[in-house]
Each structure stands twice: as structure tokens, then as C-alpha cells.
């Protein structure tokens, strides 16, 4: 999974958003921030983190959670963790 293209990665992130917030995944872009998604509050954020963990088979710690402040950061963190998994 470590070799996902940006588009593939964003596709899976969108699926996680749909699962967490029950929204149209196509509304999620690389520039999406929490204020663009009405239910992306603190509780929604941890729900989203769980969906991302399921979608990518990863585990996020609290620092990851706090750093995921928008979709761009989510993609960066996911990509980085996938790289670590592949490198291990």
C-alpha cells in the first residue's frame, strides 16, 4: 500500500470521510479543512481517525491526531506512515 499515487490516496481518504461523516466523498479535496465539513468537530475528528485507521490498516497516536488538521496533512501523515510500514 506504500506505493499509492496521490489520487489513490485521496480516494481512500474520501472513503474514510464518507464512513465517518456520511457525506458525498467527492466534496472532499486536498484543500478541505474542518470548517468545510459541518460535522468535523473534535468528536468527528476521532471518528475520522478511526475510519482512516481501518481504511489504511494504520494506527495513529495522539500527536498524529493533533497534526491532522486538514486533508493535506492527513494525506502527508498517512503517506509517511505507509512508508514506515513498508520500510519496516
Amino acid at each position: 500500500m506504500g506505493n499509492l499515487s496521490t489520487e489513490e490516496l485521496l480516494g481512500k481518504v474520501r472513503t474514510a470521510f464518507k464512513s465517518a461523516f456520511d457525506i458525498d466523498p467527492q466534496t472532499i479535496t486536498i484543500d478541505t479543512v474542518p470548517s468545510d465539513v459541518s460535522s468535523w468537530d473534535s468528536m468527528g475528528h476521532v471518528t475520522l481517525a478511526s475510519s482512516l485507521e481501518q481504511a489504511f490498516g494504520l494506527t495513529f497516536d495522539v500527536d498524529d491526531l493533533m497534526a491532522m488538521e486538514n486533508v493535506k496533512e492527513i494525506c502527508r501523515i498517512v503517506q509517511s506512515k505507509l512508508g514506515q510500514v513498508q520500510g519496516a
Binding site: S42, V46, L65
Partner: protein
Amino acid sequence: MPVRPLAKDDIPQVADLYWTVLRERKGPTPPAIQSFLQELYFTNPWIDSTLPSLVYDEKGKIAGFLGVVPRKMSLRGESVRIAFGGNFVVAPEFRTTLAGLHLLRTYMAGGQDLSQTDSANDTSRALLERLGFTTIMPFSVHWVRLLRPANCLTYAMSHLSESTLTAALALACKPFCSAVDSMAARLSSSPFRQRESQLQAAELDVETLLCCLTEFRGGYSLWPEYDAPTLTWLLSFMERMKGHGDGLRKLVLRDASGKTVGWYIYYRTPGGFGEVAQIGGAPRYIKDILDHLFHDAWSHGVIALHGIVDRRWMADFSEKNCFFTCRGGWMVAHSRKPNFLELLTSGDAFLSRLDGEWCLAFGI
């Protein structure tokens, strides 16, 4: 980051958040809320400038608040700093700033040995667990003892249903229920029979409570540290703020020789549930202490009692017809030192509702 310590000038905005969002009330915020917050967060006897309450300041507008009350405890005689978090609230219009997460993260990163709350609801618990908190099960099991079962039924009808018809029916049933409850308290075979205890009761003063807390904490590794000023402030605050009922009843119990065998503290609410803050005493007297408490509450018109189980006495509570539930608030804790969490999760702590933030509520 917009998280900073609470300042006195923030109190009016925090009071509005507390009133309209946390308590879901309409209309102007009563001035008493500001006094409550001011006293709780700026004049409590445990104030520690390194463990402040926190606000999320969005360009001058207070978008979120997390109240912190430090408490002193002792781990086998060594001082422990505990920061109890409570009154956690974020304004709906600012929730997508993730203010709640930022407030919690800052709180967790403080200098305390243990971050703790003793009345988390299901949502807060889920959020806190995801951030690394642990649910402390030994202090999250509640007991309930019905004292007037038929009146409990009408109480549930009038409180759980918004229908006017149900409320009217509950009111109409009241005389009949009172008659049934009166019989239930007197029939020898009834589980709701009230027994007058042989123990002698007297008003529990601060000095006596301090002695009790020292004498009866034996066997535990972690216990709260009080002195006369802190306990005086706490009991006065509970009495004045009426957080969980009208009158705070505090009794010490002695045997025929005058020896102290136990005590209890509870909110006496005639016609409602009495919330028990603390029960303590010698293990061999616990059933007598419970009998005394139940009779005292019953004689003051309380329809049921509710408290946190001390698991050493679970069998005694069960024998005295209490039932158990986890509905009523979770204790959750976080520490960078795993041994603190091990102590709590194994129940090796002399803790009650008196020792956290449950007792620091404001009654409306």
C-alpha cells in the same frame, strides 16, 4: 495556538458558554453562575498557577473552556498532583476549529501526575479514551437503592416523559403510591423495609471527618490529602452550590460505647433521588451504616439513593438490596506514569465523589 490560561476577565464569556451550551438553558446567564465559576477556579484552596483552567481564545472570543481543579493526594505518603478536568464546553459555531481537542491536549501536557475526571458522559469518555485516557472501572460502577419504589415509578414517569397526560397520571397516582410505599417500608418480608439502626448519629464536623479519613483509609496506596481549611471550603462549597440536591446531610455514627464506626455525606432531596458523596467506616459495620443511611434518607422523604460503589463492600450493598449500573458518569484518567493508572484500575485508592470534580457542580 489559541489555548491559554483562564483569566478573571474571561469569566462572563465562560459563564455564558456554561449556561447556554453546557446546561442548554435559554435567557440571560444568572449572575450566580459567574460567582460560582469565579470561586471554583480562582479561590479554591488547591489553586496552582502551573495547573490553570484553559480557554480557547479565537481572536478575543472565548470559543471553548476546560475547567481544571488541582487536588492533592498521597501515594504511600508521597505527594501527588492531580488535575481534575470538568465543565468542558465548546461553542457550537467554533467546533470545527477542533478547539476541544486542543484544550484537552494542552490539559494533558500539564505538570500534573494524573489528569482525571469523575463524571464523564459516554461522548466525553469516547473522546478521552482516543486521546489516551483509561476508564477506571472500579470507580465507575454506581449503586442505586430504592427507598420508595412506587414513588420512584411516578418520578420516572414524570421525568422521562414529556407528555402532559403522563405527568397528570403520575400526579394522580401519588397518594396511592405513597400508601404502597408506606406498607413496603413496614412489612417484615419487604426488601424495602426500613430498620432503625442501633448506631448513634451526630452532625459530622470537619475535625471528625479529618480523623475518619485518616483512620479508615487503611490498606490503600493512594488517598486524598485534606486539612481543615480545604475540607471546610469543600463542604461549604457543596452546601452553597447545591450541586446535586438541596441539603447536604453529614452524619458520623458511633456505637454504644461512643466509638466512631462510620460516617456518610449525601444530598437530601425530598421527593427525589439522594446523591451520596461518601460513605466510610469500619468494614464490620458497613451494613449497619447502610441501614442508618437508608433510614435517614427515607425519613426525610428521599425516594432513592445513588452513589459510587466501593468494591470492597459490593456484597454488603447487594445484600442491602442495592442494584448496580455503569450509567451515571465514568471516571477516566491519564498519566505519563503507568503505575498511577495501575493503582486506579486495580481499585487501590481511597477515593469517593468527595475527592474529584463531581462535588464541585452548580445546582440549578
